[in-house]
Amino acid sequence: MARITAGVATSHVPAIGAALDLGKFDSDYWKPLFDGYDWSKQWIANEKPDVIFLVYNDHASAFSLAVLPTFAIGCAERYDIADEGFGPRPVPEVIGHPDLACHIAESLILDEFDMTIINEMTVDHGLTVPLSLMYGQPDAWPVKVVPLAVNVVEYPQPTGNRCFELGKAIRRAIRSYPEDLNVQVWGTGGMSHQLQGPRAGFINSAFDHQFFDQLVNDPDTLKKVPHLEYLRESGSEGIEMIMWLIMRGALGKKVKELYRFYHVPASNTAVGHLVLKPGK
């Protein structure tokens, strides 16, 4: 049977992708950030997952306002890299795992989560920057990806509770897949940041650190945080952190924290990164 072996959370700031693509990783500005992922790169090289179930959000790339799904699962064989206005990132195409993805999609819908099924889409920095941070710059990604796109762009985003419960259903779905696969679940986005209006540049480190702690040890309290609190306390774009709750829900009751990293700033954003293992 497929196994969920770890959970990873990381921010997915577009400027990180640009810094990598332009070879700026050794600059004074970016080096402290990329150094913070050295441990994780070593770790994942040893773990060698077969598939990443990658929870992210599309930033008006694949989904315009014509159709805006709340939860959309990618069942395609491959995903091209989106042109976000300055040409596509020079990274390898993303290879899917259609059979596992279809199994998860069916399982989730029968579990009463009304998923949108995607058979063709491009993926933007929300999905590719986490891959770059964890795997560097390979010629081909050494892992298959099942993308789950979550609407965090337009209010109302799904609630924290719904995200956490979806994570639990994803756990049931993956663990009922008959092939022996090493699967990691990633939650991306965050941490506190605001990209718009006179309050742009908002960072709340205290909120972010409390979020880390509660995500690890007390997700049942964290899942009840309402939209308004994210908006007030973590900036208008900080609500991306609800996607970390999907990852956490998929890991089961208890988790062991293997690694944590926090850095301000990457462009407008506080960067957070967490590696978790299911069980005590």
Partner: protein
Amino acid sequence: MNEHEEFDDIPGTTVFTTQRSRQGFHLNQFCMSLMKAENRERFKADERVYLDEWPMTEAQKLAVLARDYNAAIGEGGNIYFLAKIFATDGKSFQEAAASMTGMTTDEYAAMMLAGGRSPEGQRSIRDGY
């Protein structure tokens, strides 16, 4: 207070609600069109002509022409869509964000390096915390 009124109590912030999405539909769809290189070229060649192909309001078009992102958000624009405009201009997200705050790009970059905008006094207009 209902939730929408609470949103208006957050300083310097516009929450992109379903209604705002409706208001800004054509503006945001115009932004999406800039994801194609040939459209970016046509837009850059004559911005006004390109904008006039879209059923946008005059206020939306003027906000785009002036690169006044606060005004564009006030007309229903969403920052992830508007990002296609400043990407077309070759400007970074940080430069665009700075332009909405009344700070210079350098002042804003220095604030971010120093840990970002403090949450103190930035959570609620009514309660001042």
